[in-house]
């Protein structure tokens, strides 16, 4: 059976070209970039080259890129780092209800430390209203953190407008770009972004490496204390192979971005059209057009997400669900709840995230098996018989 991977928002395979670029940096070129000898200088050069590539893709300066262990660290570092450094000025943070847990849980932690956080609502498509951001700003606001695009429903947030509002009010603007770096264009200057988080493994790079863009002049406390690495903004010996892989992945993503956006958007829209046409009582979650080129999120009435996911898995198709069944809280996805989906529909959601290797035949295969799976589960569902007859 051919296996079909449609969970690229969870992680992507490391591109073979990326792996090849990394391999020499394990056993052959292994110096510590902080060392002054030739061994160290070789790897120092390699990580600075990666930094240069990453900076170029987002329109930043090389020294504004800090290498981290990934998206979660970058989000934590940005939010806590700014909150503590600007505590003298204020203690208020603005974010949204649909952020990744790396942002939300960090904010919850800060609330316990005496900070105050506004969690902005979103509309039915998952969009934050920039006017809500403006209205939420107080004299004590030190940071706005709104994601570039949502990882579950793919909605692309109005970061241009939010960045402008942040700048006008002299508040830092952080954006979680884990789902967007290398996938859709980013320009930190045009978007007035002060801090940006991204991760390597979402763009065909290795796991365990990411970046935090920190605009020159932004005040923040380091997340990791120790050595002098990364201009004292992030101590710890550099993950040289990871950083080299990150650089290569970003380079490839930059080269292939336009073509990939075109390809994936076509496949995405076909998958959305085919599912909603072939499965009765199904609907798209998120925005119809302002969405990531690779994201399809649908809710299918009267059936539960995990049982659909398991059935698809038995057919070799990998996707994910916002159903509560995999969480200990039993609450369905906070994102689907925030866009106003009733519980039944939130539990019955599936996310297909396409990738570089996705083909039209993959979509065909989903459409061949999904309606049958839904039929089978509906025949067992006590909700189906009650509402439809």
């Amino acid at each position: 059976m051919k296996r079909i991977y449609l969970d690229n928002a969870a992680t992507t395979p490391t591109d073979k070209r990326v792996l090849e670029a990394m391999l020499p940096y394990f056993s052959d070129v292994y110096g510590n970039p902080s060392s002054l000898h030739a061994f160290g200088q070789e790897t120092k050069q390699a990580i600075e080259e990666a930094r240069h590539i990453a900076a170029r893709l987002v329109g930043a300066r090389q020294e504004e890129i800090v290498f981290t262990s990934g998206g979660t660290e970058s989000d934590n570092a940005a939010i806590k780092g700014v909150a503590y450094a600007r505590h003298d000025r204020g203690n208020h943070i603005i974010t949204s209800k649909i952020e990744h847990h790396a942002v939300l849980e960090t904010c919850h932690f800060l609330e316990k430390q005496g900070f105050s956080v506004t969690y902005l609502p979103v509309d039915q498509f998952g969009l934050v209203d920039p006017e809500d951001v403006r209205k939420a700003i107080t004299k004590k606001t030190v940071l706005i953190s709104i994601m570039h695009a949502n990882n579950e429903i793919g909605t692309i947030e109005p970061v241009f407008e939010i960045g402008r509002i942040a700048k006008e009010n002299d508040v830092y603007f952080h954006t979680d770009a884990v789902q967007t770096l290398g996938h859709i264009p980013i320009d930190v200057n045009e978007m007035n972004i002060d801090l940006l988080s991204a991760s390597g493994h979402k763009l065909y790079g290795p796991k365990g490496v990411g970046i935090l863009y920190v605009k020159k002049g932004v005040r923040m406390h380091p997340f990791m204390h120790g050595g002098d690495q990364e201009q004292r903004r992030r101590a710890s010996t550099h993950n040289v192979p990871g950083i080299v892989g990150f650089g290569k992945a970003v380079e490839l993503a930059g080269e292939e971005m336009e073509r990939e956006i075109d390809n994936l958007t076509l496949l995405r829209d076909r998958l959305i059209a085919d599912i909603t046409a072939s499965v009765e009582f199904s609907r798209l979650n998120g925005h119809p057009t302002r969405r990531l080129p690779n994201n399809v999120n649908v809710s299918i009435s009267y059936v539960e997400g995990e049982s659909m996911l398991l059935n698809l898995d038995m057919e070799g198709i990998a996707c994910s669900t916002g159903s509560a069944c995999t969480s200990s809280s039993l609450e369905p996805s906070h994102v689907l709840s925030a866009i106003g989906l009733p519980h039944e529909l939130a539990h019955g959601s599936l996310r297909f995230s396409l990738g570089r290797d996705s083909r039209g035949s993959d979509i065909d295969q989903v459409i061949r098996v999904l309606p049958g799976i839904v039929r089978k589960l509906r025949s067992m569902s006590p909700l189906y018989k009650k509402e439809v007859k």
């Binding site: 398991l310 069944c325 039993l330 006590p382």
Partner: protein, 136 residues
């Protein structure tokens, strides 16, 4: 999280799916908020459960525990069926991941509710018979 072979087997081929017309007891538990809804139907003859069927909206574990509980109660007396615990259902399935144990609790509750419903119906029908006799 990983399901046992047995859970997956019951999930793939659930036993006794459906409803029983003129059931002697029906138990409906769960709610859309937690994402699992189970309905259990039983048929009783001479104090013995002769048939059991289910309908479930829920995850893999919810479907497998529903299927298993219908298997466990068949041909049991009412008293024996009352002794079936959520642990027994989970054990019969080769265990459940800890965060899925609530599904087995739901299966036990569905069974208890179906048995309560059976007793309630019996009480009502005998009361009705009494009234009829007195009226006659």
């Amino acid at each position: 999280m990983e399901y046992s072979e047995k859970v997956m087997e019951h999930f793939r081929n659930p036993r006794n799916v459906g409803e029983i017309e003129n059931a002697d007891g029906v138990g409906r538990v769960g709610n859309p908020v937690c994402g699992d809804i189970m309905e259990l139907y039983i048929k009783v003859k001479g104090g013995i459960i002769t048939d059991a069927k289910f309908k479930t909206f829920g995850c893999g574990a919810a479907i497998a525990t529903s299927s298993m509980v219908t298997e466990l109660v068949r041909n049991k007396t009412i008293e024996e069926a009352l002794q079936i615990s959520n642990r027994a259902v989970a054990e019969a399935l080769g265990g459940l991941p800890p965060i899925k144990m609530h599904c087995s609790v739901l299966a036990e509750e569905a069974l208890k509710k179906a048995l309560d419903d059976y007793h309630e119906r019996k009480r009502l029908s005998s009361a009705a018979r009494q009234r009829k006799l007195q009226a006659g």
